[in-house]
């Protein structure tokens, strides 16, 4: 009986859910904000030859999920990279040094990649420098396709007005946003369905835009707000159902591990908003049941 019951249940924290897979969903992380360094150390393990690369990025950097089949792309505004720059040895190593090759990207920039990188491992092996921005990822094709999305570098940080209206947006250490044009968010959630036993979004096509702001503290508290704009008023009910389910799942996890939790779900004219406080967001992490 226990085994049968175990099969039915899964918990995935919404932070981890959203930091897990996907395409064209942008995360902005600010290392100078409280608790963000600890979050990065626990959740973002991007390394080059075993050495973490995020430490060498500026305080403000971006993790962009573009292809469901690939790892996300790291992006940051770094200006011109000199040979003495702390990032330089990392870029040389990941691209294979003297053996590196390059292709020309959509803005005539060079996408440098390592032709001898093992094909079975999803590791950092390509990068592109474009107008003072660096993009580091696995497949050169992913970086190339991602760059096609942007006309100018300001498009990388272009945010919907609805997102900036989120409570605590300015102070947040972690921000996310993504729109569903060209089914980008749809691809994220469809990929998630393959990995998880319990899909969190029933019909991802009903999402038009998604944004969130998360403020952490050094003692692992989290205040978070997630805003989802449905494609039309009819889809709003389904989005409310999805967010209610996510909220209830988080609540059941946190109450069980005796962590303080407050959750609130409400709707405005064109969006559904879920606000949550977690006494210790780390306790909410982890899946009860792992998918295959």
């Amino acid at each position: 009986m226990r085994r049968l019951l175990v099969l039915l249940f899964i918990v995935a924290l919404f932070v981890i859910i959203t930091v897990s897979d996907g395409s064209a969903l942008t995360f902005e992380l600010n290392k100078d904000k409280p608790g963000v360094q600890a979050f990065i150390q626990k959740n973002l393990r991007f390394t080059v030859g075993g050495a973490p690369i995020i430490q060498k990025l500026p305080a403000n950097f971006y993790v962009i999920y573009y292809s469901p089949d690939d790892i996300p792309v790291l992006a940051a505004k770094v200006g011109k990279i000199e040979k003495t720059s702390p990032l330089s040895p990392y870029l040389e190593k990941l691209s294979g040094g003297n053996n590196s090759k390059s292709i020309t990207g959509p803005h005539k920039e060079k996408i440098v990649y390592n032709p001898n990188s093992p094909t079975d491992k999803k590791i950092l092996e390509s990068y592109a420098l474009w107008d003072g921005w660096i993009f580091i990822g696995h497949k050169k094709e992913t970086i190339n396709n991602l760059l096609k999305l942007y006309k100018t570098t300001s498009d990388i940080v272009k945010i919907d007005k609805a997102a900036t209206s989120i409570k605590g947006w300015k102070e947040a250490g972690i921000k996310i946003w993504g729109d569903n044009s060209n089914n980008h968010l749809y691809n994220i959630f469809e990929a998630q369905k393959e990995r998880l036993l319990i899909p969190l979004v029933k019909d991802p096509k009903k999402i038009q835009y998604l944004a969130g702001a998360f403020t952490l503290t050094v003692s692992n508290e989290m205040n978070g707000t997630l805003l989802v704009k449905p494609v039309n008023p009819q889809a709003k009910k389904d989005i409310e159902g999805d967010l209610r389910f996510i909220g209830e799942t988080v609540r059941r996890r946190l109450v069980a591990v005796k962590t303080p939790y407050k959750g609130k779900l409400y709707s405005t004219d064109n969006a559904v908003i879920y606000e949550a406080y977690m006494g210790n967001y780390l306790t909410a992490q982890g899946e009860i049941i792992k998918s295959e």
């Binding site: 009986m1 019951l5 039915l8 249940f9 899964i10 918990v11 029933k202 109450v255 069980a256």
Partner: protein
């Protein structure tokens, strides 16, 4: 020529007699009556329902042991008995469980292969044969594989094992769920797949759920303390629709809303899980006095993958 003819007839008759003898079903064991003592959950499952759609699709979606069930080759399916009875009891600290299977025409066949079956279990590293009927697992659990008359017993837990292999008559002292007639009647309806009844008189259901919640770090049925008992019935309607009928009796009417909330969340989980197999779970809940009646229909969404 005539001698050969008679010889052939005798041989055919002999073969028929041997076959009839071999496949003549043994009567079900009377030891089953000892199993329901202290039982807080008992059920009967019809195996045929497991490899027919839509249940087979649901089981196939579960990425654990269950996945192998619908993959049993068709020629082996007749050897699997049509019904399985399940008994879960609590004696002392540990939970105990027994499965009783009426083998019917397979009785003599299983009697022959039981020893080989135990050797295979040992060979595959499940445990070590200990005595004539039991296997000791590396975790120290004792598992019984025992056939009495036409019934095969599989059991875990010393008390329940002793009740099968060293039965003591304790008429008048027996308490617990008696599956017997009620369960057997349920499986006569061709469309029924499973029927489970449970009692929370001694708070064993509550304790099991709380243990599981502690282990998982996740609230499943936080209102389980107010559950008196209930039944779960699974049946097939039409060619591809499953119906789950859940009846729960509550001890405290003020807790009805909390129990309904838990049930709704569980069915929501089920619905989301099923959506990966293009199935949908639709639920209605009604309350009558101190009983909560939940009716869940599982059917295809109409979308193709």
């Amino acid at each position: 020529m005539r001698r050969l003819k008679y010889g052939l007839i005798i041989l055919v008759v002999l073969v028929i007699v041997i076959l009839v003898w071999f496949f003549r079903p043994f009567p079900p064991s009377g030891l089953k009556g000892n199993l329901y003592k202290d039982t807080y959950l008992a059920g009967i499952i019809k195996t045929r329902g497991i490899w027919n759609k839509p249940l087979s699709s649901i089981i196939a979606s579960v990425p654990l042991e269950g996945r192998t069930l619908p993959n049993i080759p068709f020629y082996l399916k007749p050897f699997i008995p049509p019904t399985i009875e399940l008994y879960v009891a609590k004696t002392g600290e540990e939970g105990e469980m027994a499965v009783a299977v009426d083998l019917g025409w397979r009785s003599r066949l299983f009697r022959i292969i039981r020893g080989t079956l135990m050797e295979q279990i040992q060979y595959r590293g499940v445990g070590v044969i200990e005595g004539e009927y039991t296997i000791r697992t590396p975790e120290g659990k004792r598992i019984l594989i025992y056939q009495d008359e036409g019934t095969l017993f599989l059991a875990e837990g010393d008390n329940i094992i002793n009740r099968i292999i060293r039965p003591v008559s304790d008429k008048g002292k027996v308490s617990g769920i008696k599956p017997g007639e009620e369960l057997t009647q349920q499986v006569y309806d061709k469309k029924d797949i499973a029927y489970i009844s449970f009692s929370n008189d001694n708070k064993e259901i509550t304790r099991s759920i709380e243990d599981l919640e502690k282990k998982l770090g996740f609230l499943i049925l936080s209102s389980s303390g107010s559950i008196k008992g209930g039944t779960i019935k699974l049946r097939k309607t039409g060619s591809n629709t499953l119906v789950i009928e859940l009846v729960i009796g509550v001890t405290d009417i003020s807790e009805i809303e909390a129990i309904e909330g838990d049930i709704t969340y569980i069915i929501e989980l089920l619905d989301r899980f099923l959506s990966n197999s293009n199935l949908k779970a639709e639920m209605t809940i009604n309350t009558e006095n101190d009983n909560i009646m939940t009716h869940v229909m599982i059917h295809p969404t109409g979308k193709s993958k």
